[in-house]
Amino acid sequence: MSNISKEQVRHVAHLARLAISEEEVEKMTKQLDDIIHYAESLNELNTDDVEPTTHVLDLKNVMRKDEPGKWIEKEDALKNAPDKQDGQFRVPSILE
């Protein structure tokens, strides 16, 4: 069926928020192509009348009571942050 192109690999890398080098694009294109070809063996099966399984247990939505509760304190939440300032996570500029 379809062959994965380098252009697709670059696009998918962007969607996945990964910076990949041209060398990696080359390698990844080949590897993803192999894996996708292997995955296409599934097309041997007719699944027109088969319902998809997202989850093996017959679970309905699980709700909890809408009550405020104690969770993590702000100082604790910031404890493992690579960069923080004035009780908030600090990040590089979002807008150019």
Binding site: E44, T47, V50, D76, N80, P82, V91
Partner: protein, 489 residues
């Protein structure tokens, strides 16, 4: 002789009679780690100071009404969050995650049983791999022969138990990550029914498949450790709210009249002849014990690996989106805007296999490909699940090999992702169906490497699965053989 050669019950008697102390048990662990872990490389982080202090505390407590797990040294796979104890998932991305804010539910439960956490165990990065070679630290080695892999992704958890560095351990299993390393290392590992054990605090890989489970030296110990970690947890919305049986109570009821199904696909030509022979001999043991077995078919088994890689990678690509370099983990110092920071942090922090799976998953979920790949795989999952349900209408358990081959050499197939993936061909269908499965030692290859027997049960019927495993173990001596590592044996 190691203190860990005793069973859990024998150790409790010794503690009760004051022949040994909890401090002795904890010292046994660290002494053994000091002697052999430079060869085995099972541990990523040790918690020695706290563990020793905890042991002293436990030694002072009153001996009555103690839990059966009291004072026993345990190792925890490094994708299970431990409060204040570094949790890396064997990834450089979490190299600096030294101060997690809470304990996973399973860790909390173990604390109530008063086990002592010795440290965090090596694994394939984010549990993606079958050999531990994807650890971004150092690859764990097989205690039976350190030229060989211990399996993965819970390779550290299985190797640490086999090498007697801890009494028992916890692993996690998404496509075979407890059972395959248990088979390769000659120990007992079980993956419970999906939903039986809370996933709260397990760093998610593929949420619809992941389960935490116990790795031990004996089936009885496995049942005890499982008993301690199961149960409904409001913090995990997929946790099952069911009545929990006593798994140890029915262990010794035997297998007379038990109906065993053996899938022909599990003994086909892809399976190594020595592995096949060991499984056929195991079936003979079951016959002698009064069980019957018949060949059955799980006709969609051959599609399981393809379906699994699409589904697990898709779920992983979503789950691993949380690693953005903002709230925890390592941030790239190269970036000057937000998008660049995300991309560079993730690319610098993740290893090749993790990136490959994120890419595959992102592709399978992307616009225009979703129906052809992701949804198709979900439909095939239904067919695989139906295969199991059909067999379980007529049989009590399914038995076969855990893996097609014994352990392979370090470096042998690491550059060939597809061959690596097919290693889990016999364990993956179990996760897709959500049923419980376990591996018990059932022999050795001519190279002296362990072979595992896989026993698969019905949904939430761990009791029958464990009873089947126990009957085999009691009738055979495979589990008594020990790896000969250098150091203080």
């Amino acid at each position: 002789m190691s203190l860990f050669d005793y069973t859990l019950k024998q150790l409790q008697d010794k503690l009760h009679n004051k022949e040994i102390t909890v401090s002795d048990l904890v010292a046994e662990s660290y002494n053994r780690i000091n002697a052999v872990d430079d060869q085995v490389k099972a541990f990523l982080t040790l918690d020695e100071e706290k563990a020793k202090a905890r042991a002293e505390e436990l030694d002072k407590q009153d001996g009555d009404a103690r839990s059966l797990l009291y004072g026993l040294p345990i190792g925890i796979k490094d994708n299970i969050v431990t409060k204040g104890l570094r949790t890396t998932c064997a990834s450089q991305f979490l190299d600096n995650f030294t101060d997690p804010l809470y304990d996973a539910t399973v860790v909390e439960k173990l604390q109530k049983e008063n086990t002592v956490t010795i440290g965090k165990l090596n694994m394939d990065e984010f549990a993606m791999g079958s050999s531990n070679e994807n650890s971004s630290y150092s690859a764990t080695r097989n205690p039976w022969n350190t030229d060989y892999v211990p399996g993965g992704s819970s390779g550290g958890s299985a190797a640490a138990v086999a090498a007697k560095e801890v009494f028992f351990s916890l692993g996690s299993d998404t496509g075979g990550s407890i059972r395959q390393p248990a088979a390769f290392c000659g120990v007992v590992g079980s993956k419970p029914t999906y939903g039986l054990v809370s996933r709260f605090g397990l760093v998610a890989f593929a949420s619809s498949l992941d389960q935490i489970g116990p790795i031990t030296r004996t089936v009885e110990d496995n049942a005890h450790l499982l008993q301690a970690i199961v149960g409904h947890d409001p913090m995990d919305a997929t946790s099952a709210d069911i009545e929990i049986p006593d798994y140890t109570e029915t262990l010794d009821q035997g297998v007379k009249g038990l109906k065993i199904a053996v899938p022909s696909e599990y003994l086909s030509e892809g399976v190594n002849p020595e592995v096949k022979q060991a499984v056929l001999e195991a079936l003979k043991v079951y016959e002698d014990l009064g069980a019957t077995w018949e060949e059955v078919s799980l006709p969609h088994s051959r599609y399981a690996v393809a379906a699994y890689y699409l589904l697990s990678s898709s779920e992983a690509s979503a789950n691993l989106a949380r690693f953005d370099g903002v709230r925890y983990g390592v941030r790239s110092q190269q970036a000057d805007n937000m998008m660049d920071m995300f991309k560079r942090s993730r690319s610098e922090g993740f290893g090749d296999e993790v990136k490959r799976r994120i890419m595959l998953g992102t592709f399978a979920l992307s616009s225009g490909y979703y129906d052809a790949y992701y949804k198709k795989a979900q439909k095939v999952r239904t067919l695989i699940k139906n295969d199991f349900e059909k067999v379980f209408e007529d049989y009590d358990v399914i038995v076969g090999p855990t893996t097609p081959t014994p352990a392979f050499k370090v470096g042998e197939i690491i550059d060939d992702p597809l061959t690596m993936y097919t290693n889990d061909i016999l364990t993956i269908p179990v996760n897709l169906a959500g049923v419980p499965g376990m591996s018990v030692p059932c022999g050795f290859s001519s190279d002296g490497l362990p072979i595992g027997l896989q026993i698969i049960g019905k949904h939430f019927d761990e009791a029958t699965m464990l009873r089947t495993a126990y009957a085999f173990e009691q009738a055979t001596d495979h589990h008594k053989k020990q790896p000969e590592l250098g150091g203080a044996n």
